[in-house]
């Protein structure tokens, strides 16, 4: 009985540590995305290149947010392993639902933004505008 309680306590500690690591990784990704988007924005803001670079900045930030959210959802799932009572479980369910909804909406916005960038490039004068993989290159060259 005592060994069981001790094991349970150790398991809870281990999961709590893993949750903190995964959540910190998610937060680091989101913050890195914000810093990167800010730096890119400062770079493109003082050039006259139309709206495409701004859309690209939003696209990149959205990708970072989605990736960070995935990590935070992973931390939520880990938390369910040691949720001590019903209130904690209900809070976990709520936060997981919020993050899943945000992940869905962000994914949809990224798709729409990508279509806008493609349409903008297709309508632009650059005849060499290629597929999605070439977008960053053409943006850098511009």
């Amino acid at each position: 009985m005592t060994i069981d309680a001790s094991l349970g306590h150790d398991l809870a500690d281990a999961v709590d540590f893993m949750v903190q690591v995964v959540e910190a990784a998610g937060a680091a990704i989101i913050f890195a995305g914000a810093v990167s988007a800010f730096a890119r924005f400062v770079r493109v803001a003082f050039r006259r290149e139309g709206m495409a670079p701004f859309a690209q900045v939003r696209l990149d930030l959205g990708r970072f947010l989605v990736l960070g959210l995935e990590f935070q959802l992973a931390a939520d799932i880990l938390r369910t392993a040691v949720a001590p009572n019903f209130t904690s479980l209900a809070q976990l369910a709520a936060i997981a639902a919020i993050r899943t909804a945000l992940n869905f909406f962000l994914g949809r916005e990224i798709k729409e933004e990508l279509e806008l960038v493609r349409a903008d490039q297709a309508a632009g004068s650059a005849p060499t505008a290629g597929p999605a993989s070439d977008q960053r290159e053409s943006d850098e060259q511009a």
């Binding site: 914000a34 988007a37 803001a45 709206m51 947010l65 809070q91 936060i95």
Partner: protein
């Protein structure tokens, strides 16, 4: 400790959003673009704020942020499409 660092990062992200939105308005004269950028940075800040132990008011605030973001986003798309007409 980690929570404090993450919450400072959230504040910095929100501040960066305000700067970006202001510069976007000044440079492009397009409020819709500035608002979209501001909402993106605020979303990042609110996600950072959700790290760590949570209370029901925290969750309510996060949910409200997402609803406002979605409403504003839909409104912006509608405004953009009416501009193109």
């Amino acid at each position: 400790m980690i929570i404090t660092v993450v919450h400072v990062a959230a504040l910095l992200t929100a501040a960066a959003g305000l700067v970006v939105a202001t510069v976007a308005i000044v440079r492009t004269r397009r409020i819709s673009l500035a608002l979209a950028l501001l909402l993106d940075f605020f979303t990042a800040a609110s996600l950072l704020r959700l790290v760590g132990p949570l209370t029901w008011p925290d969750l309510g605030t996060a949910a409200l942020t997402i609803v406002i973001r979605q409403l504003a986003s839909r409104g912006l798309v509608a405004a953009e499409s009416s501009d193109h007409l």
